[in-house]
Point group: C2
Chain length 625, copies 2
């Protein structure tokens, strides 16, 4: 089916699977009773079955259409296995999971009766688990429903947290900080730190490209596991990737969703983090955790030696004194963390785009901010996602006459609705510890999440009804994401296509920001823009908030065709509903993609670090299942 | 009694009270039973008594020699009132405390049976309390013993945590970070932050001198209460006060004791923090909490206007571009946080001290570190406390021939003994949240703490027996602090006089660091030192680790005689066992002293911030009881 035939809101990353919406209405369930004993019984039967390899007995503990989602407890990859037949099939090759137990260590973790669907109609027992595999310990979540007087699993989630014998060097395993007693010729911390960061006598095992959240979080996790990682970034300072973005940028996600591993944002941190404040936090984060970062550094050459299983990478590092140092290193792993999106998607093919005579024409990534006094000036913003809206609002607030060009449709959910409906109870001020929230979130198989999100989106739309109506009246075209599952799923399946409304929607509804809808751009004029329908708009400034290409495009630019051809496309779901290629084996040994928003980086950084640590320690091989 | 007659170990800050060791053996107590009901009953009777002003009924709930320690719930000062007569007397003037309740919110807080003395012989019920006064809410601790079948208070502690209606802007009261909706002409966070920090359109209500822990922590607490504070520091960077100290400096207190308010050290922070790492944390701390700090800034002039109740302060600020800005501000409060010690105590009166011809002669505060190759060089370190030992160890490890000059005696406890005995259970990896530990710690009246510390010190000495014996054999003179109460009390009562052993003691015992004991210095020779007994020691380097003067000396230097004469001496105990003049009203309106180690700053920063906030809001006046 040609792409054109799929409506925009249904579009997913090319080659990825538009995961179906799970039909939860079919689940027949009674309200469970005596949940503590019943849960313990289920867990005990489960353990008996896996420990005696009784696969028939095991699958009998699941509903026929149940899901088992696993992150590194069963294989060295991420899987969501659906249905008892497939679970049976999957485990015939062996079961590395050895044991689970009910986790009662907090009210959030212990068994509770709750709704599993978006409307609370499917009631069952949810409990956190501790898990143990042959090599690791982890956490999990079981969702059990009572059917024919017995609990059966609707979903099971198992997720590794640590490798046995290689636990994190935190809390009880923190460093001493000093060697008491006699130490002739000792260096102090500062001297050791400088030597470490400059790799005076050593080389990093892992090279990470990019010092944003995608680079910092795996570096932090690896550090705690004793795997030496060097982050490089082409910018002068950690955080510059955020500092250099547009003037008004403030995160659209709230603080409770955004904590990074090991250092939560402080108690007075604003709900929505401004870009420069985030940049400052990133700088601080690297310092406090002692991450090794080389800024103003780029890759000049890179080569993978298959036989040695290592890279040769030539780095060019601009030093503060103006000199440039060239250094060759031999990491075993490279993590590309250059942004979950790839290169900017700038429509340079549009006729006339190079001949614009106005004040400014650029991609949103190059937009620094509207002029303080925009009175009498005209601006066009192409693209109607977060950046496009923020930029249009900035123009409007500075006095510009601004028009947004919306070519297809946009999923709009207000920031308030996301806080009060989408994230409420999980990522909020009264929520559980953020890493528990993550386990709860990732325990939901993608097709089940999609089903829940259909209901959540409908509720959010009701909350936002007035402004959405205003938008439509103003000619703005709305969608509800793939299969009406809203913003979250649009993010996972397409990486964009939405606006978290922080005020621009009302400006559009009020006609303060104008909308030109449904027209492709035919031509950029010297002082304006011409559309497919022949209409024209004058402009002193044109900003293309047209997004980014697939992350793989950047792999091609940096590492060349050989690497880019051997990895798979990034982002969007595979047929199981796990995100493709990111955070997991890329298809090329020693090459990893890493990124996503802060919350994704928080959870998945542990996963990539465990995979790399296991490889480094010889606990697994790259081709191991 | 002339000072000379008091043995060194008994010496306290001049004018302060050598608080007696409470005799806990006199307390007759039965093992309490049914502690939950009995505790609730005691609390209920207590509330009834204070609410009906039944002072006889109230004092009947206390042992005759009981203590009531209060921090801001009863008065706008700190008091430890001993004995039912005095409690009765004290409350006759009114009781601002309105209510207490048993705090069962955690295992650490809820009523438990525990020992109140150092040996666990006095058993009773300890419970955390929540407290409410006319203007504030707080926490407390009651220690109740069963006597004649009823619980009676042995100690009661009440401590304010927040002012009603002026709660901290944290968690549920955190800022939004962005104003959603239309905001023409809006500034972004970075612009607002720069304007705030430079006081472009405003003035600080509080000026804080010194950006160490003593300046940063009150600034942080005040920020959360919405009181604008400017910290100034003469150094170029926040943390330089630590960076500039000697090369090998590592905190002698462990991480669990050292957390600052709002931002705990991360989970991988070393147990003992190296100086440069602490400096980095301080810089980070100011940034993350958005504290206003002007570095390279000094006070040129200051004047207190009594009628207006405000200061006029002329500041000189060296800017990064090399220019100097002069700025006059009018704060209502000045907090001197220039170090709990005052100016360096350098014995410039010693004959010949200006004519030393060796490589280096300086105070320990100016010592940057021993030369990398000290072979063949001779060093003398005068003074045997923490700095003196660290410096001597540094010299030894770099190959110097080093002698320490011990004029009186030193209290030596190993770092290990402090961790495993002194702080165990309270400030350790498995301990309660640090602010709970603080409440538990400060709930103990000083004379009771002293009694406990006598036992703790004896246990620590047993732990350290071997190295202590070695020290004495080497001619090193040991003491156990005032009344044998050890290091903690020596810190509070004298501000020094101890060594937390991190290795130098063994070097002394082994003769690797030499000791010259009991001799005053008669003269500094061009290449050595001459002692009262006529003996001489050659030296290429002489370091005076002779400590610091009273904090008041620095007030005199900076603010002049008028201010210095109107404030009281700082540090050491008052007759109630509360620390003098520090953290509380100094005797001069609008002038405060603040400082102490990180742990002290953590607890007391809240207290000073509440006092200042109450004054700023008109909740109390300076002369209010």
């Amino acid at each position: 089916m040609p792409t054109q035939a799929i409506p925009s809101y249904q579009r997913v990353e090319p080659g990825s699977v538009n995961i179906p919406v799970e039909d939860l209405t079919k689940i027949q369930t009674a309200k469970p009773t005596d949940i503590d004993n019943a849960t313990e019984e289920w867990v005990s039967s489960f353990n008996k079955a896996i420990q005696s390899s009784d696969l028939a007995g095991l699958t009998d503990l699941f509903l026929p259409n149940a899901f088992w989602r696993d992150h590194l407890c069963l294989t060295w990859d991420f899987h969501t296995i659906k249905g008892t037949d497939k679970i049976h099939e999957f485990l015939k090759q062996g079961c590395r999971l050895k044991n689970i137990a009910v986790d009662r260590s907090s009210d959030f973790r212990k068994p509770v009766v709750t709704g599993f669907d978006g409307q609370g109609k499917v009631q069952g027992v949810q409990t956190f688990l501790t898990t143990e595999s042959d090599v690791g310990r982890g956490m999990g979540v079981a969702r059990l429903v009572e059917t024919e007087g017995k609990l059966k699993a609707f979903t099971l989630f198992t997720s590794m947290r640590e490798l046995k014998g290689h636990e994190e060097a935190t809390f009880g395993r923190r460093p001493e900080g000093v060697s008491h007693g006699e130490q002739p010729g000792r260096k102090n911390w500062q001297e050791r730190r400088i030597a470490d960061e400059n790799y005076e006598d050593s080389e990093p095992a892992v090279l990470i490209l990019g010092a944003g959240q995608g680079g910092l979080t795996p570096a932090a996790r690896l550090k705690m596991l004793g795997v030496d990682a060097l982050i490089i970034d082409r910018n002068e300072r950690v955080g510059d990737n955020w500092r250099q973005r547009y003037h008004q940028l403030v995160l659209h996600d709230p603080v409770w969703y955004d904590h990074l591993p090991y250092i939560n944002f402080p108690a007075n941190w604003p709900i929505f983090t401004p870009k420069d404040k985030l940049a400052e936090f990133f700088e601080t984060y690297a310092k406090l955790l002692e991450l090794n970062v080389w800024t103003s550094t780029t890759i000049k050459e890179s080569h993978w030696d298959k036989s040695k299983g290592q890279w040769t990478v030539v780095l060019e590092r601009k030093k503060k004194d103006g000199t440039t140092e060239t250094r060759t290193i031999h990491p075993k792993h490279i993590i590309q963390a250059t942004g979950h999106s790839g290169e900017k998607d700038f429509p340079s093919h549009i006729p006339g785009i190079s001949d614009f005579k106005g004040d400014r024409l650029c991609h949103s990534s190059e937009f620094t901010g509207a002029d303080l006094n925009g009175k009498g000036k005209k601006a066009i913003v192409v693209g109607c996602c977060n950046s496009g809206h923020d930029i249009a609002q900035d123009f409007y607030e500075k006095g510009y006459d601004v028009t947004m060009i919306q070519r297809s449709s946009t999923c709009v959910i207000s920031s308030r609705a996301i806080l009060e409906i989408g994230l409420a109870g999980l990522y909020d001020e009264q929520g559980p510890p953020v890493e528990d929230a993550d386990v709860a979130f990732w325990s939901i198989p993608s097709s089940v999440l999609k089903s829940i999100q259909v209901d959540v989106t409908a509720t959010q739309n009701k909350h936002d009804a007035k402004v959405l109506e205003g938008l439509e009246k103003a000619g703005f075209k709305l969608d509800q994401g793939p299969d009406n599952s809203g913003l979250f799923m649009k993010y996972f399946q397409r990486g964009g296509g939405y606006y978290i409304d922080v005020g621009a929607s009302q400006l559009i509804a009020d006609g303060k920001i104008k909308i030109k809808q449904g027209q492709e751009i035919a031509e950029v004029l010297p002082h304006g823009m011409k559309f497919a329908d022949g209409s024209e708009l004058p402009a002193d400034e044109i900003i293309f908030a047209t997004g980014y290409k697939n992350m793989r495009t950047q792999a091609r630019t940096i590492f060349g065709d050989e690497i880019a051809d051997s990895v798979k496309d990034v982002w969007g779901f595979d047929e199981e509903g796990e995100v493709r290629t990111m955070w997991r084996k890329s298809g090329h040994p020693g090459f990893w993609f890493f990124g996503g928003n802060l919350a994704l980086c928080r959870y998945w950084s542990r996963m990539i670090a465990l995979q790399i640590k296991a490889l480094e320690e010889g606990i697994c091989k790259y081709d191991d299942r």
